[in-house]
């Protein structure tokens, strides 16, 4: 290890609401190094990155940049210190041009005025420097394609004079040809002596691009190795391997797999293709895949938000044309969405108002009996609140999720699609949700469980369907290993 790393993080601890997310993590990054940060979902990668970006502050530990201790309480401080972060969600203003976005807040000036010529020139230089020659500095960011926006974000990080650029799953939204472009960019950065912290699941990229790899598992650093010293299979083994039995409840007695309740044949639209799915009563089917593999898109297609344009969907044997949420609900479907705050809850409303939202919105499922059962549904999920009149914004994440689940259960669906149901909730609440999912199956519901956490699919699903690049890469029975799932998810065949 060279004597003067760009970045040295030592003993970083971070907990949210008392749940430790990072435990004493160390990370060193050398100048001009491309350093991969890998780990399963929930391993703590994003949190570590957000600490570097100044979004979160570490509870304990030190960060040294070029040997000098730093601490960030605001993203601007991190930027000024020379750490730039390219997040997955875009941080460009669509109405501003590429050049304006690149220089926002730091516009070059001459005699106090914005020097547009210098701005355009610098932009052209920067882009040329990155080997990008077909991006007009004057183009509005909103008119660019996704990979081009990403280029702009990276160029912006460069223009900030950053000597460490963190990239969060940069290829999640890219097609293969565009990934090549990203490779070239990263290699340019390395040539210029800029260090890159590369957060990704995609093994191929990691082995193609990165010099060293740090593996996180359950918030701890498992290993930091030179890339040549490890094989893909060893890396997967290092990432996975949590004890599953301890966490997941067994199927409830009396759970029986019955008739097919949801069947999709040859489903496809702009985002996914060739989707064949079958979920039976009492069955939990896991839908696994890496970020950007089309998991959520399948859920949205089934629920009619972005309907399938090809193929057929049948619910309880009857063919259905599901072109919107109302049709889906009428057909007996329910969708617990990925982002419960943006898509699931009216945060200023009470627990009760949210729990009856689906019933209130759909005359076809509304009934006095179902309304009367809501309290029972909520207490069946062990909701902890100060009563039905409490506004859901004051509940914890886990309890909010229970309200979302209750809202759907109130309508007594036959098929329930759960998209990342445990995202951002603490371990205890996760446990209760797992039990709840089991009892849904026991009651004869068909459950389609979408999750990016491998152990969840493995611990809960009766069958696992793995997606890769918008298509089904393979199907595995219960008892599959994480390596097998990962193999399909990364586009290889399991050994």
């Amino acid at each position: 290890m060279s004597p003067s790393p760009v970045l040295a993080m030592r003993g970083i601890d971070k907990a949210f609401l008392g749940v430790p997310v990072l435990r004493s993590v160390d990370l060193d990054i050398e100048p001009g190094e491309v350093h991969a940060l890998v780990g399963e979902n929930g391993a703590g990668k994003s949190t570590l990155m957000k600490i570097l970006a100044g979004v979160h502050t570490a509870d304990a530990g030190t960060i040294e940049l070029h040997g000098r201790a730093v601490s960030f309480t605001h993203p601007l401080q991190a930027q000024h210190a020379g750490i730039a972060t390219v997040f997955q969600e875009f941080n460009l203003l669509p109405e501003l041009s590429v050049a304006e976005n690149l220089h926002l807040g730091r516009e070059p000036r001459r005699r106090g005025l914005i020097d547009r010529r210098a701005m355009a020139e610098r932009t052209a230089e920067l882009l040329a420097d990155l080997g990008v020659d077909d991006l007009a500095p004057a183009a509005k960011a909103g008119t660019l394609s996704v990979p081009r926006r990403q280029i702009v974000e990276i160029a912006r990080a460069m223009s900030q004079g950053a000597d460490l650029i963190c990239m969060d799953e940069p290829t999640a939204a890219l097609a293969d040809a565009e990934v090549e472009l990203l490779y070239r960019l990263v290699e340019r950065l390395r040539d210029k002596g800029v260090s890159v912290l590369y957060v990704s699941h995609r093994l191929r990229e990691i082995f193609d691009l990165c010099d060293r790899i740090t593996v996180l598992k359950d918030g701890e650093r498992v290993a930091t190795v030179d890339t040549p010293d490890i094989t893909p299979d060893e890396l997967v083994t290092a990432m996975v391997g949590r004890r599953i039995e301890a966490v997941f409840p067994e199927p409830l007695p009396g759970t029986e797999t019955g008739e097919v309740r949801l069947r999709v044949e040859g489903g496809g639209n702009a985002h996914v293709d060739g989707i064949d799915l079958e979920v039976r009563a009492g069955e939990i089917v896991g839908l696994a895949g890496l970020q950007g593999s089309g998991r959520t898109e399948v859920a949205e297609a089934v629920f009619g938000i972005t309907p399938f344009t090809r193929g057929t969907v049948a619910v309880d044997g009857a063919p259905k044309r599901i072109t919107g949420p109302r049709k889906a609900i009428a057909a007996g479907l329910a969708l617990v969405t990925e982002d419960r705050k943006a898509q699931g809850l009216a945060l200023n409303q009470s627990v009760k108002a949210n729990a009856r939202m689906v019933l209130d919105a759909n005359a076809r499922v509304h009934s006095r009996e179902r309304l009367a059962r809501i309290d029972g549904v909520l207490s069946g999920l062990d909701l902890v609140s100060q009563g039905g009149d409490q506004e859901v914004q004051y509940l914890s994440g886990g309890n909010q999720q229970k309200v979302v689940v209750a809202k759907w259960l109130a309508a007594e669906p036959g098929v329930i699609v759960l998209d990342e149901p445990t995202r951002g909730i603490d371990v205890g609440a996760k446990h209760k949700l797992y039990s709840a999912i089991r009892s849904l199956a026991a009651e004869g519901l068909a459950v389609l469980l979408i999750t990016s956490e491998l152990i969840e699919v493995i611990g809960l699903a009766d069958r696992i369907v793995v997606l890769h690049d918008g298509r089904i890469a393979g199907e595995l029975p219960a008892g599959a290993t994480e390596q097998q799932v990962m193999a399909y998810a990364t586009g290889r065949s399991p050994a």
Binding site: F16, L17, V19, V21, N41, G42, A43, G44, K45, S46, T47, K50, V55, H56, G219, F303, I305, P325, R326, A328, I329, L335, T337, K341, A342, Q343, G344, L345, A346, L347, N348, Q349, A353, N354, R356, M357, V358, L359, D360, A361, N362, A363, H366, D389, Q393, Y394, L395, S396, G397, G398, Q400, K407, R423, G424, I425, D426, S452
Partner: protein, 335 residues
Amino acid sequence: MRHLRTASAALIGGGTGTVFALLAAIFIAVAFINPGFFEWPSLMAFLKQAAPLVILAAGQYFVIVSGNFDLSVGALVGAQVVIAAKLIDGEESRTLPVLGVMLLFGLGVGLVNGLITTALKVQSFITTLGMMLVLYGAIRLWTGGAPTGSLSEAFRGPGRRGIEGVPLIGEIPWAVLIMLGAGAAAIWLMRTRFGRILVATGDNDLAAELSGARTGTVRTVAFVFSGLSATVAGLLIGGYAGVSAQVGEGMEFTVITAVVLGGVVLGGGRGSVVAAMAGALTLEALFTLFNQMFLPASIRPSVQGAIIIAAVAYAAWRRTRRPVAATATVNADPS
């Protein structure tokens, strides 16, 4: 009894209690200056005068809580009065048919506002601003500039007269009864599925939509209710004050002030209809207080402006100070 319970629930929860405290404080001040105010006749006169604004506030509440504005209500109130005068033209027998025409017109204006806002995706501020201009011009175009015709006695009844000879109270104005009826209807509506979905839509329209709600439809219906409230208010104001070209002018801002004073948040999803109506009552009480204090009427807008800024600033300040236990978990996404 139920209204009382709703009112008290609103007092305790939801953070809309401030307006009731303010209303009580103003009433106390009025009582201090003029103890006679709380005798039935003057109290009834106060309520009669306040009734149109309270009804408009209920209508505006539906629109605001669903996340929109209705700036066209003032012009609509004016239009309705002018339409009534021109069509009735002093003929008693035309009263009922003309009321029917007004009703259709009010509902139609609301429907157009709603459809332009939801189907054409024009911000409601612009839609209803445009509607305000259209109504203003169209009515004057139709009447040739100044209102023509006159209202019938029957038409003026609801705004002017009442049930006489009620023991203890004396006369109960029709306007007060209409106000109570409209208020009760509004409270009832907000407890129906429609009301719940309306608030949910204003709070988070994506979540409502994904739950199967027809968000565009409920928002449109909210505009229709606002149009209806302007029609009823027009009937009362026309009856009370007669016809003039100025009827309704600036009322859209007064009523939005009232609703916001009631703790209803612009942008939707927060606040109760009871509090919105209480806001209107508070504003009217404030004007009464000014009268009692012999303040010049011209100073009213200043106080109104200062109070509305203070009320909203206070609400904003309280929201930021409130402990939000859940926010920590937003960031906890360890993905």
